[in-house]
């Protein structure tokens, strides 16, 4: 009997493996997701010097309207690729974009804005990357959608592509604006 059981061991082990595989295939299971622990939590507070030397860019000023916070840097090549999409989001879609110049020197960030155009309503200077750290920024560019109550609703890692902007970002912002 024990001997028979021994020969059945492989198939029993495989049955366990198969169960796990089946569970892994259930809908809504996404191993690729890089979820932000901050989703649906209040956005971290920040109070940054403005790039244009105006009033400080701070969290409280964000609430009341849907805000898209974009971390960028002049030294980041993908940010330059993303830039035209941000320009469109600002000009055509009139999104409330707030830029945060991440670990960048103000003069470099200013040069970037002069060269490529300014899609942002406000730009904060995060010289040391503290705000980026609080948000859990993985690498620039990264984009966060913050609702009217100041809660983070979505995080986009890497440059926004036209598809993602059109199919995910804009619909989300519109939905949040209505709520």
């Amino acid at each position: 009997m024990t001997r028979k059981l021994l020969f059945a061991l492989p198939v029993l082990l495989f049955a366990a493996l198969g169960t796990y595989f089946t569970l892994a295939l259930r809908p809504n299971y996404d191993p690729q997701a890089l979820p932000s622990v901050l989703i649906d939590k209040p956005a971290p507070g920040f109070d940054l010097a403005a790039l244009d030397d105006g009033a400080r860019v701070a969290t409280p000023g964000l609430s009341g309207q849907v805000t898209v916070v974009n971390f960028f840097a002049s030294w980041c090549v993908p940010c330059r690729v993303e830039h035209p999409i941000l320009m469109r989001l600002a000009e055509k879609e009139k999104l409330n974009l707030v830029g945060i110049a991440y670990k960048d020197r103000p003069e470099d960030a200013r040069r970037l804005i002069v060269q490529l155009g300014d899609p942002y309503r406000r730009i904060g200077v995060d010289r040391e990357g503290r705000t980026g750290f609080d948000f859990g920024v993985y690498g620039v560019p990264e984009t966060y959608v913050i609702d009217k109550t100041g809660h983070i609703r979505k995080r986009f890692v890497g440059p926004l592509s036209p598809e993602v902007a059109l199919k995910e970002l804009i619909p989300l912002v519109r939905a949040l604006e209505k709520s």
């Binding site: 020969f7 059945a8 796990y20 569970l23 295939l25 690729q32 090549v77 993908p78 890497g158």
Partner: protein
């Protein structure tokens, strides 16, 4: 039109595969020669049909027919011809077609060479192959048709993923699949034997060349993939314990165990049910690998476009194929008669030890690969299992493998003389000791594992040479006589020596990685950095425009002791369409060491991040793998595989044993 022809061939192929699955099986049960004969013809027909399907898809790629969705999504008119063809298997649908084509190739080969098999066994093997083909053809036709058309073809294709546009990667998948799918033959033999209820030396003699051929291809495939990762990913690593790498490594480990345990079945008529299990497990692990890559249940750099319908379909195939065969095993294997007995210290004993360690190693890799999935599925944390786990589990398992590897071949069958074998290995002891001293001198108290690794490499390498020298009685008889003995030695013996020596070379290459010198620095134009004995001056960085990317190309003057020895040009490419940055590393390869430069991001001051590595013996890792595959191929030319008739084979086998094999 040609494309529709290919699609049609797939559909007809599915019907043929169904016929191949059941008619010969029924024929074998009834002893009906006519029905048994159907198997061979069906297998050959299936091969012809799959060749037509492959040819028509290749035709669509070569002529850039963008009305075929698969071509439009993965090709581009500007691509060089090599990548147009290799684009075929750079995507899910095309690679599945390649998979089935290779399966049909194996089936056709079995049909061609099966004249010497007992008809019932041959029929059952072919019908198992037919079932696998039918399952995968149904999968392709239902979920992944590569011949799908679009009504309005785009003007040009979307191109291939930039990191895949590389010669190393053009050949990596075909070899890998040849390995994966090649193991389907030994799987089919195992199932046929279980149905038959008979496993004997002749069976092992038929299985082993197929397993060996698949193993060679898999070895080459894995080595190519690893080499590609080394020169293209830009951080000098060559193995990342990525889930998909592991998926190819597990069948390799199980397959290595299989080709060794089949020797015991062949020579000593023992370890039968274990060998059957290994044959099933090896192919099952290949299937699991296919599932992992294509279902998207694991995060991996290799993942294909994910579609839940595909995942479910492959999972169903997996459950039928693996579950079914293991149930058959559970029912039938206990009845297999055990064979010859042997003492623990004997060649069989050493091979059993090798098997146990290899199987444990494959198990630990499986556990490490799937553990994140296990945890995630039951709602636990998201974790990843990385190199530390594998270094702590896999590496210790390999130490006894390497230790016994040199001893095993010197032990006699049935009962070995351990002391005698060890005495004959005195030269290997000396080599290991010298390697230790050299490594110690080079590092003076450096990493312990690396020194152990060198010692093991020397031990295994010298062990392989000593064993070979013993056989040809080198230096004990006249050189001419030694040469004659070497010529008359079975090719399989030469093959083993080569393959074992290859392992030693690879192990040395891996051990040497402990002495890598690495330097990451910000370098301004005109600035210099040092790695090892080399000084590299960044002369300039130019912006270049490629067909579909922007590149920053650096020019480094490499000096050693003040003398200019090389000018190297690493590049950093940005592909706007795919939003990917790739690294085109500059490598100066040598037998002794590689010098490796990768260009990183610039900083705001215009300085460039540069990674430079000096990697001693790194090319030995792949050189060793090449030797292993070569050893396997030399083994395949052994004349005893070509003598198919069982009676004759037995006689030759007895003669070989008598000759002191």
């Amino acid at each position: 039109m040609i494309t529709e022809f290919g699609h049609f061939a797939l559909i007809v192929g599915f019907a043929v595969a169904l016929a191949q699955s059941f008619v010969p099986l029924l024929g074998a049960a009834r002893g009906d020669a006519g029905m048994i004969g159907v198997g061979r013809n069906a297998a050959l027909a299936l091969f012809a049909l799959m060749a037509i399907a492959m040819a028509s898809l290749i035709h669509a790629y070569v002529t850039s027919d963008f009305s075929v969705v698969n071509v439009a999504q993965n090709s581009h008119t500007d691509k060089p011809m090599l990548y147009k063809v290799s684009g075929l298997w750079g995507n899910h649908e095309g690679s599945m077609l390649l998979w089935v084509f290779i399966l049909a190739l194996c089936g056709g080969a079995v049909a061609t060479f099966c004249r010497n098999l007992p008809p019932a066994l041959g029929a059952r093997v072919l019908s198992v192959q037919g079932m696998i083909a039918a399952g995968f053809l149904a999968f392709i036709l239902a979920t992944s048709n590569p011949f799908l058309r679009i009504a309005v073809p785009p003007a040009n294709g979307q191109g291939l993923n930039p990191v895949l546009q590389d010669p190393g990667l053009a050949f990596h998948p075909p070899f890998l699949y040849l390995g994966y799918v090649g193991f389907s033959v030994s799987f089919a033999f195992a199932i046929a034997a279980l149905i038959d209820g008979k496993v004997d030396a002749a069976w092992a003699r038929w299985v082993r060349p197929w397993a060996l051929a698949a193993w060679c291809a898999l070895t080459l495939g894995i080595a190519l993939g690893s080499w590609w990762a080394y020169y293209t990913l830009g951080w000098g690593g060559w193995w990342f314990w990525d889930p998909v790498e592991n998926a190819s490594f597990m069948p390799w480990l199980a397959g290595t165990a299989l080709i060794h345990s089949a020797i015991v079945v062949e020579k000593r008529d023992a370890l039968k049910s274990w060998t059957i299990l290994l044959a099933i497990v090896t192919f099952s692990l290949s299937l699991v690998g296919t599932f992992l890559v294509r279902s998207g249940v694991l995060t991996s750099v290799h993942a294909f476009a994910v579609d839940p319908a595909r995942g479910s379909f492959i999972l169903a195939l997996l459950i039928v194929a693996i579950g079914g065969s293991l149930v058959l095993y559970a029912v039938r294997a206990p009845a297999l008669a055990g064979g010859g007995l042997f003492a623990p210290v004997s060649r069989e004993g050493a091979l059993v030890l090798n098997n146990l360690l290899m199987a444990t190693a494959a198990g630990s890799v499986l556990l490490g690969t799937l553990y994140p999935l296990f945890l995630d599925v039951v709602g636990g944390d998201k974790i990843s299992v990385g190199a530390p786990f594998f270094n702590k589990t896999f590496v210790p398992l390999m130490v006894p493998v390497l230790l016994t590897m040199a001893i095993g071949p010197l032990l006699g069958w049935k009962r070995g003389d351990l002391l005698g074998a060890l005495q004959r290995l005195w030269l290997a002891f000396v080599a290991a000791f010298l390697a230790c001293l050299v490594a110690y001198y080079a590092t003076s108290g450096g990493p312990v594992m690396a020194i152990v690794g060198f010692a093991l490499a020397a031990w295994v390498g010298m062990g392989a040479i000593v064993e070979w020298a013993e056989r040809v009685a080198l230096f004990r008889v006249r050189p001419g006589l030694s040469l004659r003995r070497a010529i008359h030695l079975p090719r399989a013996a030469h093959g083993m020596t080569l393959a074992h020596f290859g392992i030693a070379v690879t192990v040395a290459g891996i051990a040497a990685s402990a002495f890598d010198a690495e330097q990451i620095d910000l370098v301004a134009i005109g600035g210099a950095m040092r790695v090892g004995q080399y000084e590299m001056t960044l002369e300039r960085v130019d912006r270049r425009e490629g067909p579909n990317y922007l590149a920053d190309e650096a020019t480094f003057n490499v000096r050693r002791d003040g003398a200019l020895i090389a000018v190297m040009h690493p590049q950093r490419r940005f592909f706007p369409l795919q939003e990917r940055t790739t690294s085109e590393t500059a490598i100066r390869t040598g037998i002794g060491a590689d010098l490796y430069i990768a260009l990183g991001d610039p900083d705001p001051q215009g300085r460039w991040t540069v990674r430079a590595y000096w990697k001693p013996l790194v090319s030995w890792i792949w050189g060793g793998a090449l030797l292993m595959a070569l050893g396997g191929m030399v083994s395949l030319t052994d004349r005893r595989w070509r003598i198919g008739v069982a009676v004759k084979a037995r006689a030759t086998g007895a003669a070989a044993v008598a000759a002191g094999e």
